[in-house]
Amino acid sequence: MAIDPAWINVAPPTRLQSCLPRSDTLGASWPIYEDAVGVIPRNEWPGLVAQQGRTMQPLVRKIKNQGQEGSCASNGCSGAAESLYVKQFGPENWVELSAMSLYKRVASSAQSGSTINDNIREISTRGVLPADNTENRARFKHVHSNTGFAKALPSGWEETAKLFRVVEWFDVRNMDGFISAIFRGAPVFYGRAGHAIFAVSVVYTGGEWAVKYANSWGDWGEDGFGYDTESFVRGAIQSYGAVAPRVVTAWDPELIPAPP
């Protein structure tokens, strides 16, 4: 299926440019992917892409919508976490997460924006709350909406948020590591052009390698997804940061049965 050029290398409008440049240094908090794991040689990429269905897109159960707030990095972070939960524990245990419960801790206002590394630090240590919906209200003690910076977090939120943590990440140095991580089953949460999203698959389009990402603009693009080419992303990796989450905690002990 041909990719609509309208959804390739889309920069956000100025009012939504809210992914801030990283405030730490590459490898300061997490192992560097290329060093710890290594990269898949480029001559193997065509064969991997050719296999139909080699994509993590089915792990994305719902496209997020940040509304008019500058919470793209928190949406990308919690969206990537959701996809890992689906990967580890199955779609039957998917829990929609509240990006705002993260954003409120890493931003100073609805439009201030946030860095990728601040979001990772928070979701790794204190976690993220489930989104406020009927199902989650019935299951969890604390929930929070996905938008609305002015709304306070529920009292005692830490108790529930700590159940939803992404505990292991890789810091990605370059495009070769970025693509390799996706081929090896890790979504990549990254920033470019003042906007943060997370990539779920690799494509080759217009003579160039590209990634398909889940956006947080609701009904937008190709069912909520867009594409970034290598040339569009390359320079942004080190300025904004690109990270590959790989382990999430089990929010319920019964997600993992005990051996007999």
């Binding site: 994509t55 090896r184 089953g185 890790a186 051996p259």
Partner: protein
């Protein structure tokens, strides 16, 4: 059996008693033989027609003090060309063996007759007379018997293979993959995605979990997979809220199709 015929039988047996040969039986042969090696023993003291009223036993005790199963030993007496008696012996297991020969002849017939009379519930007076005859016969004409021992040395045969496990009942299964996520290859990542979306797993009610070995909650399954290097898979019964019997564990097969075939072979 009537009272008259019982007494007649007893008197007849007593008449045979007088002609009985009290000679004991002597068994001679090698003191040591290797496992599965043949041994022949000379048996002296048997009359020409004694073989049909002879009991032979070969009992062995292994180095562990346990009785060796009788079906691993063969012990057969036979009459040779010259009319002498020989005993053929072979054993599969090492240990110390005792070969015993007992000729019960008419004494055996008498003992069986008394046993039959007891079972038949004949009158006490006649039974008493029979038992008295039996006791006198036992005192005057003990069974003729003889025994010898030998050592069987050498390697024991490999234990018989365990019986094949019963085919598993079909039912819902857990598939639990435990691995270091840092080591995920592109092919494993692809298989995980295929299993995650598998219509087959969904239609059968099987559940699939993907665990990093660093997760505390993965520890029990990591222990279950001890000795398995690389990504390990456990197939277990899926009970209502827990895992039942582990049906298979080992390295995850290389492809999705191989994993599904493995699952099917274990009732899934």
């Amino acid at each position: 059996m009537s009272r008259a015929s019982l007494l007649s039988a007893a008197l007849l047996l007593c008449a045979v008693c007088a002609a009985a040969d009290p000679q004991q039986i002597v068994i001679t042969g090698p003191a040591k033989v290797s496992t599965n090696g043949y041994a022949f023993f000379s048996v002296v003291g048997l009359a020409s027609d004694d073989l049909q009223k002879t009991q032979v036993s070969c009992t062995g005790v292994g180095a562990d003090g346990k009785t060796i199963p009788s079906d691993t030993t063969t012990c057969i007496p036979f009459t040779g060309w010259g009319g002498g008696h020989t005993l053929f012996f072979v054993a599969q297991s090492s240990g110390r063996y005792t070969i015993a020969i007992t000729v019960n002849g008419w004494r055996g017939s008498l003992d069986r007759a008394v046993d039959d009379a007891v079972s038949a519930g004949i009158d006490a007076e006649l039974l008493g007379q029979l038992q008295s005859v039996q006791a006198r016969a036992a005192q005057s004409y003990p069974y003729r018997n003889g025994s010898t021992t030998l050592e069987v040395v050498g390697a024991n045969p490999p234990p018989p293979p365990p019986p094949p496990p019963p085919p598993p009942e079909t039912g819902q299964r857990w598939l639990i993959l435990v691995r270091e996520s840092q080591d995920d290859s592109a092919s494993l990542a692809w298989q995980i995605m295929q299993l995650r979306q598998s219509e087959y797993l969904i239609s059968k009610g099987h559940l699939f979990r993907v665990l990093d070995d660093d997760l505390p909650s993965a520890e029990p399954w990591l222990a279950e997979l001890s000795g398995v290097s690389g990504p390990g898979l456990v197939i277990a019964e899926r009970l209502v809220s827990s895992a039942g019997q582990v049906l298979w564990k080992g390295p995850i097969p290389k492809t999705y199709n191989e994993t599904i075939e493995l699952l099917k072979r274990h009732g899934g």
